[in-house]
Amino acid sequence: MTGAFRTTTGGRIDRARPLSFRFDGRAFTGCAGDTLASALLANGVHLAGRSFKYHRPRGILAAGAEEPNALVGIDRGPGRYAPNLRATQVEIHDGLVAESQNRTPSLRFDIAALADFAAPLIPAGFYYKTFMQPAGWWAKLYEPRIRAAAGLGRAPRGADPDRYTQRYAHCETLVVGAGPAGIAAARAAAARGDRVILCDEQAEPGGSLLAETRARIDGLCAQDWLAAALAELAAEPRVTILPRTTAFGYFAQNFVALAERVTDHLAVPDPNLPRERLWQVRAREVVLATGAIERPLVFPENDRPGIMLADSARTYLARYGVKPGCRALVLAAHDDAYGAALDLAAAGMEIALIVDPRPAADGELPRRAMAAGLPVRMSATVVGTRGRLRVHEAHVGTIGADGGVRGVDVVSCDTLLMSGGWTPSVHLHSQARGKLAFRADLQAFVPGATPQACRSVGACAGEFGLQAALGPATRVEDDPVREGGFAGALPHDRPRARAFVDFQNDVTAKDLTLALREGFRSIEHVKRYTTNGMATDQGKTSNINALAIVAAASGRAIPEVGLTSFRQPYTPVTFGAFAGTSRGELFDPVRTTPIHGWAVAQGAIFEDVGQWKRAHHFPRPGEDMHAAVRRECAAVRARAGIFDASTLGKIEVVGRDAAEFLERLYVNSWKKLEPGRCRYGILLNEAGFVIDDGVIGRLAPDRFHVTTTTGGAARVLSMMEDYVQTEWPDLQIWLTSTTEQWAVIAVQGPKAREILAPLTEGIDLSRDAFAHMAVREGRVAGVPARLFRVSFTGELGFEVNVPAGQGRAVWEAIWEQARRHDAVAYGTETMHVLRAEKGYIIVGQETDGTVVPDDLGLGWAIGKGKRDFVGKRSLSRPDIAAPGRKQLVGLLSADPGHVLDEGAQIVAMRDPPPGTPALGHVTSSYWSATLGRSIALALVADGRARHGQTLFAPMPGGAVPVAVTGPVFHDPEGRSLDG
């Protein structure tokens, strides 16, 4: 037996497959096909959660996604704890471990429920009114307490080991919701030959058909018709049926996001399967068939365990074979509650009384109920309930002609079922920017016009009834029409009693009127002040009642008050599903150079530069970073070093107007640059600020090899394309990115020539034949190469460009030679130190988007007499031409052993009072092995005029005096360049 409340027959569960699970440590048995909610109910457990604010005991209210009360945590082991899941959506599997939330120490006895006694003191918005004195206690005392009390489920601990994936999909028709309306739409689309995706959030497609007991469709009972229809759809190769898949977000141009839960329902998931899959669907047409949500009724003490939505109770019976209790009182403001009463009575439940606040009910279902002898009281309502952990009596009063309520009869019951009718699920329609129209007969909003190719069908369009859902081609029998709907609060005579509107956030009807009284008139204000609709159910059961209460209390019509916005997601979606495979190494591409493997083998330490991994230094055993860098620096200056510069951006600029193009783009002059020569180029944006630099070589009259910074490669190419395509389409040039075509090996140091000579063919490396800032093509180590004679270290240097596929082989060949000269491989840190010794800038380090060439002392690079280039006009703007700009200088700390902090501020006085404006800041700072002391570069106001001055870098331990110098510390005459 899988619970005392399980019926012996009926429902879609498999009684032959019992499953054991735990709830709060207690072992239970359920059946395959059960949700946690149905399995608990089968075992007579209604108490399933505690409310957010008052910690009131709460039962299972609903049977689907709208459930506000029965939130649980599911624990699948380390890193696999998921809080706040709805018991109504958790499918049980063998060994499932669930726990209740927001209670200490236990669900039955929760200390925090004391808050319920303080309820009169803590109405909506109370926290804005108190906890202000004494100042400072909020953060120290009150806030931590409030935080601990709030927060629902406990936070997961430990990294989630499960995998998540994503998939893009395209179809002609996406159908959301696989109830009768959705199935009908999917069949019609499939018949057209469309690609169809039919998704439903539930474990099985079928929607309300899964619990349909009366109607016959084309002569079949609903479940048989459903099975046949699904089989037919499944046989269509172009139809994809996705159960356990929630359409949660509807974006522009019919782009719909679905979250599929792939393995949570399995006791032992296949490790190759992801836990969840995010679908991003682009559909030509979207059909929304999302059904409707039953509406609770707002009456005093309407929140006790055992109080349920009527149709949900019926669903538990019809679909899961579970009777929700023994004796039910039914509060029916809508005919469907009579249908529920009929079904439950037929299954042997006692119907104590049907209480109907309406003066009359002459629909088919009420008539049948009365005919079946069920007791009915019209013009009556429930004005109170009793029962701490489960309702055990209801107080029924009569509604007088004046609307007042009189006389109380006590009715004992263990279940109270209620229905105010249905609220169409217009969430996705509204997310799609569809308009909503109010239908007074339903007291509900239904979809209006939409700007997208999207339509709503069935109950979500306010068209109830199977015939409406299935369309005229399908014959439906015995599906009585149900009309009407009730929104708002039922009358009662107990001004102090609490009638709950938002169950999860404990918002009562009185809270809503309090907000109005306090001037919060807009429904958006009411929402935010009372938090109605802000809980994890986003007001699925509460928003419309709140709206009606606000409308009534402020004398406005419901449409005048309007709705709060529907936002994605429709129901909460796991962060992991959004992240998908984008984690760890796959979080962002790791780009490596052809020489990377060699550096790894040598034990290099890497740094991240954009997406690239670059070798930062090559420590030898026992060396720390500083020791390694000192050694590398010294070796390069004394002998030579080789450096992997492959990450530098490269762009091949080809065409008749290539020189003209560069002339217009870069600050320098290019037209007169001879083939075989190169030049250091500086690129500005139109605002005049330096954004990139690099050496540009002219290979032929119509062909340039442009290099950019590593980080700037894509940006510069894009900027070039922009100018070529949109500003100067008259120029005949083409750009090709060759960053990855070439491996670049810098050989730097006095021995550079000797290292390369044995490997080089077809290029005369001699000083006269191959001058500084020249470029040649030939072969290195047998591989076609472009050889640049350039130096970023101040030493004699070459940059060998070879096809990337040969990069490693050529590197190793050069390394062989280099070792003979006791040269080193060096990393980016050594490169930085060596260039700083020479006062060479790094874009992004010496520049920060506010620096013009002259600030850097690079005014010389600007082509003389050029009328225009990108950014030129800005250089003559008054503020850029004004004195006092920050200029690049060198700084030498008074204590040569003190390496300044990069980013340290520079001021004129030793003890600057707080608020002293800085003169500038340190941009680069290193220990210079070459000079045997520390050096720094800085941008300092009027820096060039300050050479020789002593300034200060304020540090926590006291200001560090620094002497201002020129930015070139080593070999200012450039003698080493020629080796």
């Binding site: 395209h170 682009r282 065409g655 990855e740 596929g805």
Partner: protein, 183 residues
């Protein structure tokens, strides 16, 4: 020649999916107008398609339209110098640009009945044969990497990837392929 995907054994789920690295290849980017492209096609030995997002190929050579004045040319490895010479000679009087990019890319194929599904894990294009027929090619994105995607055979896609992204693309496909391991 060292390829960025060297040493990666194919991922094979029989009857479903196969992901395999391709050997080195001669590659060029050709830029120019229609006239230049027509003549380049003659010199190269495969037509440079004028229809957007289409490729023309025979067993040895292929030309992929990448932009209105941009084609990716694929030829047998080692033919770089000859091809460059041929095209330069044929187009001496026509403005154009030719850049050799043999080493810029690595290439791989994704094939089998699940190929579209696997690629859909990271590619937002509609890969249904009706939307993306054989012979169609385009630059696009696969997760966070740019690719050139070409349906070179009815049930096989060729991916050209910048070499430094090749490992990422491979690892991404390997991860996404896992769910296809179980039938």
């Amino acid at each position: 020649m060292a390829d960025a995907l060297e040493g990666r054994a194919p991922i094979v789920w029989p009857d479903r999916l196969r992901v395999a690295a391709l050997p080195p290849q001669a590659r060029f980017v050709f830029r120019g107008d229609a006239e230049a492209a027509a003549r380049a096609g003659d010199a190269f030995g495969a037509t440079l398609p004028m229809t957007p997002c289409r490729a023309a190929a025979d067993d040895a050579r292929a030309a992929l339209w990448l932009g209105p004045d941009e084609w990716l040319l694929l030829a047998p490895p080692g033919t770089e110098d000859g091809t460059a010479r041929d095209i330069a000679a044929a187009l001496a009087d026509l403005p154009h640009a030719l850049a050799c990019v043999s080493d810029r890319h690595a290439a791989l194929t994704v094939s089998g009945p699940r190929a579209e599904t696997l690629l859909a894990a990271g590619c937002a294009l509609d890969l249904d044969p009706r939307a993306f027929p054989q012979g169609m090619c385009t630059r696009s994105l696969l997760a966070k990497a740019e690719i050139v995607l070409w349906r070179h055979q009815p049930a096989s896609f060729r991916l050209e990837v910048r070499r430094s992204f090749a490992a990422y693309v491979w690892d991404f496909l390997a991860e996404a392929a896992r769910e296809h391991a179980s039938a």
